[in-house]
Every structure is written in structure tokens, then in C-alpha cells.
Subunit: 418 residues, 2 copies
């Protein structure tokens, strides 16, 4: 009962604040965000201290290495957090944008304009920088936000929110615009996702289990940022040197994130040329290779992959490898096991590339590039609130613009329906 009361009251406060955030001027929002960026830098040591409490607890509780890595903040990551806020401040303001404007045959004039969504509920795990990114993007887009981070990062998140709020209010952020849910109790999530009169959108970002839980219980519309079970397919016409560079990057540059590659598919025609070398490179980098039977026949020292491997998002220094007999088999495998996040083909054959890019059903499909490039920064779109793996509203990397909706403004001169 206490949790319910607490969540409803936070949501009500956010709803009230959202009327004010919606009408903040672009320059005021910029000032608020710049003040927040400075404050985050100033609070660096305090945030790192609070984060170390979380990291210690996570290690003690046996959280996996990749997850601990995601959780950990250092000076560089704090600086990156501040610079992401500055980047968001510098983005074009989406609110009020005229998407289209026309005069209908009846003579009425119609404008479709961008307006804030209202209140965004953000449910996320692990990475504390999401606290800053989500807050900044919601403010930029004129929304109020309710943050419910993972319990493993609660001290880090709370320190970040306190920092943002203190600086924000001084710069003119309306009271109540950023709400932080402190309780570790999952009941708080259930309450939050049922408040469809107060909350306009829920963004769950994290484990598959958490997202499924949200989807099953939510009445508020959900925009899922689901898992990334990403593949790279090395076609028979691939430039193998380029392929090596790409799949090494896709797996190793930062294995704990959703756009890292989990499964490598190799056409049988190039498997013998490609795999021995590639597996050796992976092994010496500390990547555990789990191969199909054909892979094992070519590279005897790989671990044999089980069926489970094809559907596992390792988020770790592990990769599954499968040799396929055709591009169709690769497409079939991806359409069964892929999570609709990021998929890549390496080939010099334009026909194969076109087929792959058309037939793969995913938010982003890459030709001769690493799946790690799927994010707002690499796309040149600025900071993102996450990568949507669903098809509704926003698919793939989403930023401030995707946190708005539209409204038709219709101007008549006594027009009626005939």
C-alpha cells in the first residue's frame, strides 16, 4: 500500500510537472542541461564513491564480469556522461517542429506539429549513465521522467539524480520533472506500468526477463529496448581481411553491450580460409569460441556449440560460430534466432548484399560494417535513450525526437462536415 501510494504520488507530480516542461523554451532547456553537465563533472568524486559501493556489492553477490564492467564508473565515464548531456543540449529542439502543413480540399488548413509525450517511465538495469542520458533526453523533448534503475546501481543512480536535480532546479527545471523510484521492490514496477492516466510511455531497457515482465503487466504503452542477439554473415564473396577486422570489432570492442555480435555465420566456401585464423585471433584475445560441427571439423580445438548457444546473448567474451551452405540458410538462421536488433553481412557481391538487407527483419542491417556502429553517436544523431527492438513508434536508435508525439492543429473559417 505504501509503495502504491508512493508511485502514484510520484507519477502525479510528474504529470503536473509535464505541463510546465512542455512549455519550457528551447533556450531554457539548453541552460538547464548545460548546468547539469557542469554539475556532473563537479560531483565526479562523489558519484564515483557511491558507484564503488554498488560495484563492491555487485562483486560480492557474484554478478558476471560483463555486468560489473557495465556498472562501473570512472573519471572517463563521468566525463562521457557530462559530454553526452552537452551533446543533447546542442541537439535541435524537437518540440514545436512542423512535421507537415497543408490545405485540405475542404479548405481547412492543417499543421502536424511535434509535442512532448508527457510523462516517460524509464525502467532500466546496470548502466548508471542511462540515468543521466534519459533525464537529459526527456528534458530536451519537454517530458517529465520517472526513473527506475536497477537495484544493483541504486547508489550510483541516486547520486546522479541528486546532482542533476540540484543543478536543474537552479537553472529553472520545474519541480517534479525528474522522479526517482528508490525502492528495490518489484511491486513498484507493477504499479508504475499500470498508471495509464498519468504515464504516457514506459521504456524498459535491460534483460529479456525484465522486458517480458513489463510487457505482460503494462497497461501504459511500452517501447521495449530488448536484447541484441546480433549476427554477422561472412558471404562467399567477402573480402576476408575486411571480414576479420569487422567481426573482431563486433565481438571484442565492448562485449557487454546490446549491439555486440554474438553469432558468426560463415559461408562454407570460405570457412576453411577464414575460420582457423579467425578462431586463433579470438582465442588469443580471450574470446571463447563455440562452434557447430563443421566449425569443429575445421578448427578442432573449439568448444562444441549446443542448441542453446544460438539463442544466447552472451554479453561476454564468447562467440558462437556456424558454417552455412548458402545466404538463404544464413537468413533463415537470423530470422529464427535474431532479436531484430542489428545484423550484418560482409560481401563484395552487391546482389547478395541487397538480398540480405531487404530480407533481414531487424532495426538496422549493415553491409561491410560492424554491428557496434548501431547507436545515435555513430549514426551522427547524437545521444540516444536506447535502441528500440520493437517496430512501433521508433525502431533502432532513438533520441529526443522519438520522445515526442504529434498533434494536428486545424484552422477553419466555420468549416463543417457536409
Amino acid at each position: 500500500m505504501d509503495i502504491k501510494h508512493d508511485i502514484v504520488s510520484k507519477a502525479q507530480d510528474a504529470k503536473n510537472a509535464s505541463r510546465e516542461t512542455a512549455s519550457l523554451s528551447p533556450s531554457r532547456k539548453k541552460e538547464i542541461l548545460m548546468a547539469m553537465a557542469v554539475a556532473v563533472e563537479k560531483a565526479r568524486d562523489k558519484i564515483i564513491f557511491e558507484n564503488s559501493v554498488d560495484v563492491e556489492a555487485a562483486k560480492e553477490s557474484g554478478l558476471g564480469q560483463a555486468l560489473v564492467e557495465r556498472l562501473t564508473l570512472d573519471g572517463q565515464r563521468i566525463a562521457a556522461m557530462a559530454s553526452a548531456i552537452r551533446e543533447i543540449a546542442a541537439l535541435p529542439d524537437p518540440v514545436g517542429d512542423v512535421v507537415s502543413e497543408w490545405i485540405a480540399p475542404s479548405g481547412i488548413k492543417i499543421k502536424k506539429v511535434r509535442v512532448p509525450l508527457g510523462v516517460v517511465g524509464m525502467i532500466y538495469e546496470s548502466r548508471p549513465n542511462v540515468t543521466a542520458d534519459a533525464s537529459a533526453l526527456c528534458i530536451k523533448s519537454g517530458n517529465a521522467v520517472i526513473l527506475r534503475g536497477g537495484t544493483e546501481a541504486i547508489n550510483s543512480n541516486h547520486a546522479i539524480v541528486r546532482t542533476l536535480l540540484a543543478a536543474g532546479h537552479e537553472a529553472g527545471l520545474p519541480d517534479g520533472a525528474i522522479q526517482f523510484v528508490e525502492t528495490a521492490d518489484r511491486a513498484a514496477i507493477i504499479e508504475l506500468i499500470k498508471l495509464d492516466k498519468l504515464v504516457d510511455l514506459i521504456i524498459p531497457r535491460g534483460s529479456e526477463a525484465m522486458i517480458r515482465f513489463v510487457r505482460e503487466h503494462a497497461i501504459v504503452p511500452v517501447l521495449a529496448h530488448g536484447k541484441g542477439l546480433c549476427h554477422t554473415y561472412i558471404d562467399k564473396s567477402a573480402d576476408l581481411a575486411m571480414a576479420r577486422k569487422i567481426v573482431f570489432n563486433a565481438k571484442c570492442q565492448r562485449p557487454g553491450v546490446c549491439n555486440a555480435m554474438e553469432t558468426l555465420l560463415v559461408h562454407k566456401a570460405v570457412a576453411k580460409d577464414f575460420l582457423p585464423d579467425m578462431c586463433a585471433v579470438y582465442s588469443s584475445a580471450g574470446v571463447e569460441v563455440r562452434g557447430c560441427a563443421v566449425t569443429a571439423s575445421i578448427v578442432p580445438d573449439v568448444i562444441k556449440a549446443s542448441d542453446e548457444d544460438w539463442s544466447t546473448e552472451y554479453l561476454d567474451m564468447k562467440v558462437s560460430v556456424k558454417v552455412v551452405t548458402s545466404i538463404e540458410e544464413a537468413l533463415g538462421h537470423i530470422n529464427i534466432y535474431g532479436s531484430g536488433h542489428s545484423e550484418a553481412i560482409v560481401t563484395d557481391d552487391e546482389v547478395a548484399a541487397k538480398k540480405f538487407m531487404e530480407e533481414v527483419d531487424a532495426a538496422a542491417v549493415f553491409h561491410n560494417a560492424s554491428t557496434r556502429l548501431h547507436d545515435g553517436g555513430s549514426f551522427g544523431l547524437g545521444a540516444e535513450i536506447g535502441i528500440s527492438t520493437q517496430k512501433l513508434h521508433a525502431r533502432g536508435t532513438m533520441g529526443a525526437r522519438e520522445l515526442t508525439t504529434t498533434k494536428f492543429l486545424v484552422y477553419g473559417g466555420g468549416h463543417i462536415r457536409e
Copy 2:
């Protein structure tokens, strides 16, 4: 168990078909739709006969007059159904549209293109023309569709689907692209809205209770076409002759639809000039007027409105009338009781109009025009699948383009994440 099996099998068939519908050429889709339009005209008498069975049953079961009116088909409405299909055929094809295209700082080339959603589940009530509109719009946008109409229209809907399918298949519609759920059992809806591996979007269109039911049980993303509790506010600076024309149209032109006006708000400064006349006009047109205390003091013969009236979507020849002391009071009333559908202000004061249009949180806001103009046809956008009352993905009238999603196509030359 039988129902579950039936729904899963229909959804699986739709999913398989959706790969083919996605790759239909624009000209093939046009041919399919033109053939369907002709077929609907040819089957006119058969459809009207099947409809008469539904209408008789509805009358016997005591369905309200407005709902019976929505259900009834005649020669004119069949002709309108065919012409809506032709209109959809003539619309620009949204699939493959390049939404944007740019080269990122890293040098990768990015294209954001429109692709079909996949499988759309349509759950609707009453109006049988939705069967034709939804099928045509889903085909136009490259989707497969699963139709679950109201049981009160089952014979009409089934006759329309049989007609569309026969003509469609002859013109090249893939098998399985239009699925029709025949059972009246509500369990079918529950099964359908949980199939998130097979169905990409659920559109519930109908009563508030049905939509709430869908929202509460769905795992598949939902795009609700909810109720229209629409207001018109007559400002103190309104042209009262224009106001009369607009609110008569908004209430009476077709009271059984979602963009009809339900509540009239009148500024106190013009209430005495405006209301006696207006109420007399309504009365002689057969509209029952339910007024607030102030209204009753001006027009003694109105029925006294209860609190419930402000939150009732009559869909009938009834109107509630409230005198307000300011535009702020009108805005407050709308933000409490409005359903976020269509709201209007009649005024010659540009400042008041601007305030109203900015502060009302609805899919469409009208200045000096009837709320009845909120639809794809009046907006010059062509036939619509409905009017979305939620903020995500599509808000307000939505057509073929809103039944698509996007996909990023990324072209590199060995690009990796640094």
C-alpha cells in the same frame, strides 16, 4: 484448446504470408485492390442480405439506435466501401520510401526506409466497412491482417471477407494474407493479443471496455482507437452564427461516430445570447440537451446534467452543455473529461485560439471548425484505418503510412567502432 489452436494457426499463416505481402510490387497491390473494389460492388446484394441478418438480430437484442445505424449497410454504404478501396489503391505506396538518408561523420552511409510492420491484428466492433478498409490499408502497406470484428456484425464481415479474398487471390494476393476470426468467443481475443512472436501490432477500435480489456491482456503492442469524448468551446469572442453552424454539425451530422461532439462549453459572457436559440435548434432536431445549473437557469426546459454526463460518450442525439467562466475553466474541463480525440474552439480572438490549441492535449484541435472534420478523408489523406487516441506511433487519423515501420540500412567499407 481448439480456439487457441485456431488462433495460433491463423497467426502463423498470416506471418508466413507477411513475407510475401512485404515484397508485392506497388502495381500488383494496386491491381489486387482494384479487383477487390469491383468485387465488393458486384457482391452488393449478397452483402446487404447478410447484413440484414445481423441488423435484425441486433434490433431483437435491443442494441441502441446509434449502434444499429452504425451496423446497417445499404447500397450507398457499399458503394462508399468500394470507393474507399479505390482511394486506398490510388494512394502513394509507403513501402520502400526513403524517410531520410545521410552520411555519418564516421563515413558510413545510412538510409532510413519504410517497411511493413508484418502482421496487424484488428479488433473492432459494429461498423462492417472497417473490414474492407482495414484489409485494403494493410495490403497497401504490405502487411498481413487478422480481422476480429464484432459478433453483432459477423455475417456482414464474413461476407465482405469472402468477397475480398476471392477477388484478391485471383489478382495475386498471397494465401493467408487476410485472416478472419469467426468465433464469437472472447477467448480468441486473449489468444491473439498474446502472440508477440507472430503478431506485430494490435489495433482495438471500439468501446472503452473492449479497449481496456485488450490493453490489460495484450503482450503485442497496442494502438488504441479509443472513444471520442469531444468538446467544442464557444469563447466570449466567438462569431455566434458560425458557432451555431459548427456545433449543430458537430453533434447532428452523424452522432454515432467518435468525432461527433458530446459536450458544448459556453463562455458565460455569451451564454445568454447563444444558448436559448441553440437549445431550441437542438430540440427541434431531436437532440436531448442536458445542461449544467447555469444552463438550466437560462434555458429552463433542459434536463439537468449529472456528473456522469461530463464523462459520457453518448454516440447519440444527446448533448451536454456547460457554462464556464473563462477559457481556463474550459481547458480544465477538457483536460479532465476529454478523451484526447478531437477538441474545438470557436473564437475570433487569435490569442485565445492559440492558447487553446497549445494547451489542449488531444490528437486534433480545431479552430473555427467542426470536430467531425477529423478523419483521413476531410484531411485530404485518403481512407483511414481509424483515429488513434494514444500518443505512440500514430496519433489521430491514421492511414497506410502509419501501418509501416522503418529500418536502418547501413553501408560501410569495412567500418568498425573505434
